[in-house]
């Protein structure tokens, strides 16, 4: 078999093992919390008898191992149980919010990734001169602002000074695609500001690292222009480090944007998770935790695989 396939399969298998380990951690973490689901449901007024009954009906008296596998088995079939607080089906509640989360992340990613890589190439092209310093300065400034400050700044600018957008990003089922785009415009701008610098800096650094190679001199001596040298000869050799940092930022856009969601009242997964953490709704916390871990691990496996495939030595063995 082609060694590349073996490597890729190995990576995917490793990722699955990692995901399993994370599921154990999530389960144990919730187990380790004081009190249990029965106490949460019944609250302060519970008597020992009602507690015992509740535990019996929820299956909490089973050994931890049995409960873990039962939870995992259900989770794998998309059944996360019911939320304690409102008795809603968790999978259903997550489904819609996950869609919103992915929509926001995708919109931000589609703008931020090409923009960051483009700026990174431009900064590398003008390494040490004013365009480089300007790009670095501006992106570092935007990443240094806390998200909520950036958010309020953007709201002020685009709803008050130049009133073209809405300060809240409520989305409802039944909105058209364009309406949705319009609704998420502000949070997308904020998120792009937040993730731009990291990807831009890594692109720049990866390109400058490759620019030290002798084959770059070969390209220059062929008469290629600086941008052609970077685009044709440096970039193909810098794919792996760039993809890995892009993926980290994409993962962040999915799992780490709760502040932005709250500021813009955007109904997505982060806000849902934080709400239920504060209400100690453990099944929800477990479910969302597992989904976030899967997204994170999945994206990183993707970056690993791209890194492997981008290496001509692995793609075309001797």
């Amino acid at each position: 078999m082609h060694p590349l396939i073996i490597l890729v399969v190995q990576r995917i298998a490793l990722g699955l093992i990692l995901l399993l380990a994370v599921s154990v951690l999530i389960f144990l973490g919730v187990e380790a919390l004081p009190g249990d689901t029965a106490q949460q449901i019944l609250g302060q007024g519970a008597t020992p008898e009602t507690l015992a009954n509740m535990r019996e009906s929820l299956g909490l008296n089973e050994p931890a191992l049995t409960r873990y596998f039962s939870w995992l088995g259900h989770a794998l079939t998309g059944d996360f149980g019911k939320a304690l607080t409102n008795k809603m089906d968790i999978a259903q509640a997550i489904g819609q919010r996950l869609g919103n989360t992915l929509f926001l992340a995708a919109c931000a990613g589609v703008i931020a990734v090409p923009f960051a890589i483009g700026l990174g190439l431009l900064a590398a092209r003008h390494n040490g001169r004013w365009p480089d310093k300007l790009i670095s300065g501006v992106t570092l400034a935007t990443i240094s602002l806390p998200e909520f400050v950036a958010a309020y700044f953007v709201i002020y600018l685009l709803t008050q000074v130049i009133p073209i957008l809405q300060p809240v990003s409520m989305v409802f089922p039944g909105m058209t695609f364009l309406e949705r785009l319009h609704a998420v415009a502000l949070p997308v701008i904020v998120l792009v500001m937040v993730v731009l610098a990291h990807m831009m800096r890594m692109t720049r650094a990866a390109i400058l690292n490759v620019m030290q190679s002798p084959y770059i001199e070969t390209a220059e001596l062929k008469g290629l222009s600086p941008m052609q040298v970077i685009w044709r000869h440096a970039l193909p050799n810098a794919v792996a480090p760039i993809v890995s940092v892009v993926v980290i930022n994409l993962a962040y856009l999915v799992v780490g944007v709760v502040v932005v969601e709250v500021v813009f009242s955007y109904n997505a997964l982060g806000q849902y998770l934080v709400d239920h953490v504060s209400k100690r709704d453990l099944p929800v916390v477990q479910a969302v935790g597992l989904i976030f871990a899967a997204v994170y691990i999945g994206l990183n496996i993707f970056a690993d695989v791209v890194g492997i495939v981008a290496n001509p030595r692995l793609r075309h063995p001797k």
Binding site: Y215, P236, P312, K318
Partner: protein, 548 residues
Amino acid sequence: MAKNSMADLLEIKGLKIEATSYPPGEKPREVVLVDGVSVSLEKGRVLGLIGESGAGKSTIGLAAMAYGRGGVRLTGGEVLLNGRNIRGAGPVTLRALRGREVTYVAQSAAAAFNPAKKLMEQVIETCLLHKVMTRPAAQARAVDLFRKLGLPNPESFGNRYPHQVSGGQLQRAMTAMALCPKPDLVIFDEPTTALDVTTQIEVLAAIKEAIRDQGVAAIYITHDLAVVAQVADDIMVLRHGKTVEYGSTDQIINRPGQAYTQALVSVREIAHVEKPPAAPILTVDAVTARYRGTNFDVLKRVSVDVAPGQTLAVVGESGSGKSTLARAITGLLPPHQGAVTFAGRRLSPDLAGRSRDDLRELQMIYQMADTAMNPRQTVGTIIGRPLEFYFGLKGAEKARRVAELLDQIEMGKGFAERYPAELSGGQKQRVCIARALAAKPKLIICDEVTSALDPLVADGILKLLLALQAQEGVAYLFITHDLATVRAIADKIAVMYRGEVVRYGAKSEVLAPPFDAYTDLLLSSVPEMRLGWLEEVLGSRRMESAGN
């Protein structure tokens, strides 16, 4: 301008090249790399630039494309290419001529090709960029050049990636890349230096033929006078950025006018008389070695021995197992089978099983002195370390011994305070020798210790090693791919090929006919310092193969 209409393709007049140097802890200062060099080159002729490292050869070669590496600047004189001065021309003008009128062949093709792109894309890139020809025409020309340069499967060769072909093939592919856009001038910058001798001769012949066939002019840069004598019409000898001598190849080789040129021509003529056989101090008996997790023998039943105070030279090309033999002897790669006996005792195959005396009496010196020393330690610390480790010397006694050792390697005791970065290549290698010597070893394994050095510097190192052998009675196992070095230093020779010793014995026997096929190939491939040598060798090889 009347003169220029008939003028040379390239005319360099009074070229001055400068760079800014940033010495640690001091103010940056301007250094002159090349000063007052003038060159003229007609269409279809080959100029050889020769000199040691730092002589400014590559800098002048690149100046023909008005290119300065790093912060190098062309600050004075004229570079007339096809009649116009390109020194100080704008980037658009320069880009138009680079890769079109002048092309470049780098020393290490392995590093100079982009690992992420197929060879064909890279070879025809200039043709398309400068719109010399269409893609199909460029591909056809590339295939044609691959064929002329003797590359295997020329039709499909371009579909490969650089890592899929050998070093010699890459060097030829780079020559094809340089010739593809039909340039007026090709700069060859040490194109065969990184190759084995048997590969070098093939590449050299291919380059020479291609230059003649395509009618291009060339600048051929090398530190090896014997190589340049085979391809150049004229030779310029450079030293410290200045012209030492400039004349026809015949004149430079046969009637050198300057003392420095004479030294270059007569380099490597150390007369070393072979010592009589004696009872061995090191015996390698039928050693077979393989790397962990493989079952391929990289050494196949190798048996050699070394007598006290004598030198065994192990010769072979890259991949022949020379360095692996050193690793097996030192215990870095425990032999799979066979035994190593040293000073009457059988050595533990594994490094961990050896006594401190075993370690002390068997020292090693490496090719890259740079990487074999801790850059943050002074020379005194580096040499003092074995004194402390093996003999427990401290303080004044250690300092006295360090001074002694520095004296032995012909460097003053003032060097004890210096850092490796402040030393020249030859000095670094001398420090490594002193460090090995500090352990008072009975045998030193020298692994290509002169290969990275300029010929005159290498000569000095060899003389030093011979003198130290006479003084200390230390034996050497001297690994090299260079037969001239072998002649200068060996008492016994082992020729290795693909993990086996194919010829072994006293120097006088090994270097005398009748030869086995491989030794013959190896010996006849070493460039000789005379005109017409290349044609002679190729001619006799062709006759042999025709005769078969």
